[in-house]
Amino acid sequence: MTHALLEIQDLKTHFPVKKGLFFGRQVGTVKAVNGVTLHLQKGEVLGLVGESGCGKSTLARTIVQLETPTAGTILFEGQSLAGLSREVLRRIRPRLQMVFQDPYASLNPRRTVFDTLAEPMLAHRLVTRRALPEAVGALMEKVGLARRYIRKYPHEFSGGQRQRIAIARALALQPKLILADEPVSALDVSVQAQILNLLNTLSREMGLTMMLISHDLAVVKHMAQRIAVMYLGRIVELGPASAVFNTPRHPYTRALVSAIPFPDPDREHARRRILLQGDPPSPLNPPPGCAFHPRCVYADASCAKTIPPLEKRVPGHQVACLRLDAVEKTPVPA
């Protein structure tokens, strides 16, 4: 039986909210990830989009075991990651790497490029000390940094170059899966394009599997084969990138797509936006039933009671909405 590279089944990550200074009593639970099922095939780029607080970063952090899941299973290459000893986890970790949003915060300012890139390789005994300079140099070239910068510190680099270092660090351990959490949102447009191109080339050449997390649907659509849309801890739509972008089915995805400003004045003036009412609700106190129903124009009484399951609508395209028949009668916004 063939396994997907990563299989997530009904994953939940909840955080207790405590009140009081020392011996706080629990006053609530933030259900950051609340029942996510997701499969990643080898070599696939999956885009994960959603607004702030929807749990997309927590999902990534749970996959790499930076957070402990409350419930559910994560299978990586067929092996469960839950409850592993630190020793075993340490052997698996190199294969799962993360790239963070802010390259100003994710690099140690007191370490040179060499130190930053050499450490993981030494710690996991991938390279001998003698071969290190060559290995680090090769890694730098792979991400488009000149070897002569090897002794420089992070502050000597621009934001885009720092993100290249962060990507090189993730690649140092020859990972199978890369989780990139908003890798370009701290960068200017022209630099964004450079980093996206780099990720694209790398994923193609090295056969990397990647989960690209972003709030920017345009970025995700450009990179990913499939897109998952998250709202308040759950996936509400999952399907081929072009289908999710061009013919979104969930009312939330429709609003999200319609809110993206497009750099074309004629198209912008011709289109009619779906303006959602209000803000995304707090994950501390999510609405009952479908979490989107208070902002949804299609919602009826049943939506406030039942949590809609993620169901296959057409092959390969899943949507979690009880009122899909009503939604699909209205045309997709331009």
Partner: protein, 324 residues
């Protein structure tokens, strides 16, 4: 007479590491009621060019080296702090990027909204309160009479930005400067705020300067655009012209590098190199080292913004010479 006429504005920051020429000779006019977009990457001087007008540049290290900014017969750059105080928040209002840091966490929402009315219009407390409730209602905050007693931390990001809009517009200004008003917000909330600013603009008839790095936001909201690079305006034209017939190679490159204009998986167009270090004087065109159309003359000939066709100006020497 235009509402605002800025000529040859230069704002430099004198730091230990040298003089940063943040805004270096910027001239433009703004007509009453129009929406002008200023687009550029971080460090291009788009915010400083606006903060300079309102005396919001920290001095030192900042200093306005030259220029004038005529606003209804007054030169803003020559005005005293007392004169500026009468204009700021009354005739010219501002909205900032991050509504959490722009609101005072120790004051109630109501207290902050009525402040401009009490200061500028000498309203009584009860009248000011009445108008504050109205203003909050106009920006789509329900139950305003209760909400007015709440503090900023009790509001979400989108609601706080609505409060900022209400506060900025309560004195019915002639000009609103919005500095990345939607950048810190989620896409669906961003759409709401931009929509709100446009709707309030139409009902009040004010002019808006919208500073943003997002060309998509410009496309949907602005009538005219200034493209800034390295402290200068490199292109200025009506929005449709900037998007459909950009003349400056930088503007063209910026448009081409946006992911949404590319087919999925295509290699995105990128601009090689980095913006110049503004502590060094730039002799020729600041974009020359990264430009695909560069000629030797571009590196040494000073360039100025010139009209190449009615209403469309560019600082590119080669376009001006008719070569591009």
């Amino acid at each position: 007479m235009p509402l605002l006429d800025v000529q040859k504005l230069r704002t430099y920051f004198h730091t230990r590491n040298g003089t940063v020429r943040a805004v270096d000779g910027v001239s433009y006019v703004l007509e009453a009621g129009e929406t002008l977009g200023i687009v550029g990457e971080s460090g291009s001087g788009k915010s400083v060019s606006q903060y300079s007008l309102l005396g919001l540049i920290p001095t030192p290290p900042g200093r306005i080296e030259s220029g004038c900014a005529r606003f209804g017969g007054i030169d803003l750059l020559q005005s005293s702090q007392a004169e500026l105080r009468r204009i700021r928040g009354k005739r010219i209002s501002m909205i900032f990027q991050d509504p959490m840091t722009a609101l005072n966490p120790f004051m109630t929402i109501g207290g902050q909204i009525i402040e401009p009315l009490r200061v500028h219009e000498g309203c009584s407390k009860s009248e000011a309160r009445q108008r504050a409730v109205e203003a909050l209602g106009q920006v789509g905050i329900q139950d305003a009479a209760t909400r007015i007693r709440m503090y900023p931390h009790e509001f979400s990001g989108g609601m706080r930005q609505r409060v900022m809009v209400a506060m900025a517009l309560i004195t019915h200004p002639e000009l609103l400067i919005a500095d990345e008003p939607s950048t810190a917000l989620d896409v669906t909330v961003q759409a709401q705020i931009l929509d709100l600013i446009q709707e309030r603009q139409q009902s009040l008839g004010m002019a808006v300067v919208l500073i943003t790095h997002d060309l998509g936001v410009i496309a949907g909201t602005c009538g005219r655009v200034l493209v800034m690079y390295a402290g200068r305006i490199v292109e200025s034209a009506e929005t449709r012209k900037v998007f459909y017939s950009a003349r400056h190679p930088y503007t063209q490159a910026l448009l081409e590098s946006m992911p949404s204009v590319h087919a999925q998986g295509d290699t995105l167009f990128t601009i090689p190199g980095m913006p110049p270090d503004l502590t060094h004087a730039i002799e020729g065109c600041p974009f020359a080292p990264r430009c695909r159309e560069v000629r030797d003359a571009c590196r040494t000939t000073p360039c100025v913004l010139r009209e190449v066709e009615p209403g469309h100006a560019t600082a590119c020497l080669r376009v001006q010479a008719g070569e591009l």
